[in-house]
Symmetry: C2
Subunit: 283 residues, 2 copies
């Protein structure tokens, strides 16, 4: 109950990092999307437990030019995949959260073009190529579930391209915050209105393709509009509905298994007037 007060000792995303945690977000995730039997769960847990690495904040997990030959699964903490440009700017192309597989097929590549680094303290499981192959041939449904999961990853990557390509700063940041909220909630590390937030404003800027100064001002606008509150390493979402609308965010794209729902916009005209009207307040 006093957890909020003496958080110094235990805080790390609101829960303690223990050695070799028995709880793996990836297993939960696949459980929910594909359903696993006991043997599959055990096999997966075993594979994740064999070899783990812990990295300090900002340490690099995979460097540019490397040929990893192994797949990494985030156990705890956040990581970013980015490109360092020759003019000194940086573009983050992906943020990995607990349960995320950092590019299932990365081990097929002979040269890493997008290095990965820890955002804060990061623990990953290391699955050598051969071991992964053994796991998936033994348990084809695990492979299937992992591929399904990778499809979501591809979708997210495309959403990012759209985000930086066609939205203004407020919408970009809103979209990012909504995406993180949804992904964190899905793995039980956040709620609809709050989640731990280890990103600096520079990280937000690099993920959204804007400058840190502008990220700062954008966040202030979102705060002033009553959409979010951001104290230190913790984010409150004050008005999820408006934030999602501003970011043009559709949480369904993160739920691969969901059925039914039809596309909201067919040719891009229908919702225009109402949507824009509602946004005037902030935008």
């Amino acid at each position: 109950m006093t957890g909020q007060l003496n958080q110094a000792d235990t805080r790390e995303f609101g829960r303690p990092i223990v050695d070799r945690p028995e709880h793996y977000a990836l297993i939960d995730k696949l459980e929910r999307s594909a359903g696993l039997d006991r043997a599959e769960r055990d096999a997966l847990r075993g594979a994740l437990r064999v070899s783990q690495r812990t990295l300090s904040p900002r340490a690099t997990l995979i460097d540019a030019g490397e040929a990893p030959g192994e797949v990494h699964v985030v156990i705890d903490g956040w990581a970013s995949r980015y490109r360092q440009l020759s003019d000194g700017t940086r573009q983050i192309v992906a943020i990995y959260l607990p349960g995320d597989v950092c590019d299932l097929d990365a081990c097929l590549s002979d040269r890493c073009r997008f290095p990965i680094e820890a955002i804060d303290t990061l623990r990953v499981a290391v699955l050598p190529r051969k071991q992964l192959a053994a796991l998936t041939t033994e348990h084809p449904r695990i492979e299937c579930a992992l591929r399904q999961d990778a499809v979501v990853g591809t979708s997210i990557q495309r959403e990012w391209t759209v985000n930086v390509g066609r939205r203004n700063a407020k919408r970009r940041v809103s979209h990012l915050l909504c995406e993180l909220a949804t992904r964190l909630t899905a793995i039980g590390l956040g709620s609809d209105d709050h989640y731990p937030f280890p990103l600096t404003q520079r990280d937000i800027a690099d993920a959204c393709g804007i400058t840190p100064v502008h990220a700062n001002r954008t966040l202030q606008d979102l705060r002033a509009a009553g959409l979010i509150a951001l104290f230190g390493r913790s984010l409150d979402i004050r008005d999820r509905v408006r934030l999602e609308r501003l970011g043009d965010f559709d949480r369904r794209y993160l739920e691969l298994g969901s059925r039914g729902a039809k596309p909201v916009v067919a040719n891009g005209k229908e919702h225009r007037t109402r949507e824009l009207a509602e946004l005037e307040q902030v935008d």
Copy 2:
């Protein structure tokens, strides 16, 4: 020899479209990257031949919300994958050329979030999920080769995020033109200094996250700087070296198999001065 003159009857990327062509860019590509034996080539050719579709320019191949259940392989023509935003703007997230597989794992998804449409006349092979599965279990090396190819696709997707996130209009367009040049050359449909160009300025704009008006002015700048010449449906690259430098383009990322080469930039500082100096002329 008079092919250039009476191109009206045969032109479609400089070569005629024939019914059921015997030449498949995908087979060539996999041949080069992975090496296939006769049985594999035949199996692949057979699979590509079973079912094909031909679409008119701007016709949609896969619509938003659909669950395709099949994989498409471009045989001839160009296609774009895009997102239509609620404010009427569009972001192209991928351009598919002959030999490209339009998302190997798309058939695992239950809802298409990024429709695909033909840019000009498009012929695709249609591989139902089950048939693809049969092909790959029968010929594991084909699966491996396809996965390798998909890794390049993922890399391209990330490059696009970088492109629209961190480059100005001239650099974005330059990068796009270089990427297309390299990909087309790899499949024998372009040379180092020339390729057929079915994109409209609006397509360029939507791929680069700028407006058509600005795309027009950007192209004029590139022309004026002597980097390119663009007449109708055909592009000349006048100064490949400077165009690549302007677009910060590294063609190695499209050659999965290439060995050796080390990263040009380690921490983003080294090349700054010289590179920028050389660019002053255009930028």
